[in-house]
């Protein structure tokens, strides 16, 4: 065999490699099918599920004016028009400082409460590389009862009438239509109904949303109390969310009267079995205060 015979296959190999490298790249075949990291949006339609917070915060530059309205008890009979004669209300303003930080204030009829809260998105569910399967939002709220004492001799201070609520909301949007969240909660009371009562009440909430159509969803919210004041029950609410443009209407039934964490989670005196059910609605109207900047 001559040298040339020996090296010919090698040369052939090298030459054909060059051919492959130099062949034109078909751009159409380079369309990237790998997914980029994307954050999951709209796990819930509104920042409040029914009585309590959802994982969502008000988006940057938006002001959400919220009217939460609860009629009287259904079992109060036809004389009270099944509760529609009475009502308690919370008026609230929520504002988004950034897309991850929201603040809010509110005034409730119930115990003439004033409340304020800070809500921060700590983790956001995402898809694609390094995806997170869940979202976590933290909420810290302060609630002050301003209702005058029946007996002024008690001389209760503002501090006595203050309670604090801390929540961690853990949510997952399972599909475009189904979302579930868990809400481990601690409420701290400065002043207790009875001396033997604990200052810190622990509870675990569970909430869900099932979309029926693009603009209509069913919602549910339940709080299980691990320790509690006597005479109070766990809060359960079932509702419907209807979205129209900048409004979200939430209609629901609940055994809770109050609209702040320390009242609806730990001071729900109604019982579903007894028909102590309120019909209620929340109206959320979002106003654009600051525009998101676009570099068009």
């Amino acid at each position: 065999m001559t040298t040339i015979q020996k090296i010919a296959p090698l040369l052939l190999a090298i030459a054909s490699t060059k051919m492959v490298i130099a062949q034109e790249v078909d751009l159409f075949k380079t369309v990237d099918s790998t997914k980029q990291k994307e954050y999951v949006e709209a796990t819930f339609k509104s920042t409040h599920l029914i009585n309590g917070h959802s994982i969502e915060t008000t988006k940057a530059g938006l002001l959400d004016f919220r009217i939460s309205h609860r009629f009287g008890l259904l079992n109060s009979g036809s004389y009270n028009f099944f509760g529609l004669d009475n009502a308690t209300e919370r008026l609230g303003l929520d504002y988004g400082i950034t897309n991850n930080i929201g603040i809010g204030i509110g005034r409730s009829t119930f115990q003439k409460q004033m409340d304020g809260f800070v809500k921060v998105k700590l983790l956001k569910q995402s898809t694609g590389p390094k995806a997170s399967p869940i979202s976590i939002t933290g909420v810290a709220a302060v609630i002050v009862k301003t209702l005058k004492d029946s007996d002024p001799a008690l001389q209760r201070t503002t501090s006595d009438k203050t309670s604090y609520a801390y929540q961690l909301i853990i949510a997952r949007k399972f599909s475009a239509s189904t979302s579930i969240q868990l809400m481990p909660t601690m409420v701290h009371y400065n002043l207790l109904p009875l001396a033997k009562d604990p200052n810190d009440l622990y509870s675990l909430g569970i909430g869900a949303r099932q979309k029926l159509s693009k603009r209509l969803s069913l919602t549910a919210e339940y709080y299980y109390q691990f320790n509690q004041f006597s005479g109070y029950y766990n809060s359960l609410a079932l509702g419907v969310d209807i979205e129209t443009g900048g409004h979200v209407f939430q209609l629901h039934f609940t055994n809770s009267t109050g609209l702040t964490e320390s009242t609806f989670i730990n001071q729900t005196s109604g019982k579903w079995e007894n028909g102590d059910i309120h019909f209620g609605f929340n109206i959320s109207r979002v106003f654009k205060i600051k525009k998101q900047k676009l570099s068009l």
Partner: protein
């Protein structure tokens, strides 16, 4: 004996051919220009409201053989109004189901473009545009700018929402039935 003489000759012939082929291979100089920060915006104008949104993370490639591709994440469109942005993804584009839009096209007048010479070249591009899971053939006009070896592509065209199966109660009221699309990509 005769065979031994022929063989080296054949090998020389083969070798010569291989060299010629590899030289030919080297003369093929396809150039690919790409960017991951291209810009695509759209504009909807009705008597009630004007709506604009922009995506600054468009992935695009352009080859001097005339091929062009554009890919973008629908959720990458930013609106002035965050609520509108959510509605866009949730109620109209169904971005969970259809996260991307893709365009694959070819410059139909490639002979008019000289990628090695500075200038602004008017071009027509024809191809397939996939939005909301629906693919349509489109033709758009635009320009290719070449300046000191840098390539930029621009185009304006219109698309009808109905062509892509995009439905919603506000289309025809607050949202125009036809959107004006602007493409502006500067390639590396």
């Amino acid at each position: 004996m005769v065979r031994q003489i022929i063989k080296p000759n054949t090998m020389k012939y083969v070798l010569g051919m291989l060299i010629a082929l590899s030289t030919f291979a080297f003369t093929n100089n396809q150039k690919i220009y790409q960017t991951k920060s291209g810009k695509v915006s759209f504009f909807s104008s009705t008597l009630i409201e004007d709506i604009a949104a922009v995506n600054n993370q468009v992935d695009s490639k352009l080859s001097n053989n005339g091929q062009m591709i554009f890919q973008l994440a629908i959720r990458g469109f930013k609106f002035e109004n965050a609520t509108m942005q959510e509605h866009f993804n949730e109620n109209y584009m169904e971005s969970d189901k259809y996260p991307k839009a893709v365009f694959k096209g070819k410059i139909t007048n490639l002979a008019d473009v000289n990628f090695d010479k500075d200038g602004t070249y008017k071009t027509t591009v024809a191809g397939e545009l996939e939005i909301h899971g629906v693919t349509q053939n489109i033709t758009a006009t635009g320009t290719i700018d070449i300046k000191a070896g840098k390539v930029a592509a621009k185009s304006n065209f219109k698309i009808k929402l109905a062509d892509y199966g995009i439905k919603g109660t506000l289309i025809g009221e607050k949202i125009a039935k036809e959107l004006a699309i602007t493409v502006d990509c500067k390639y590396d």
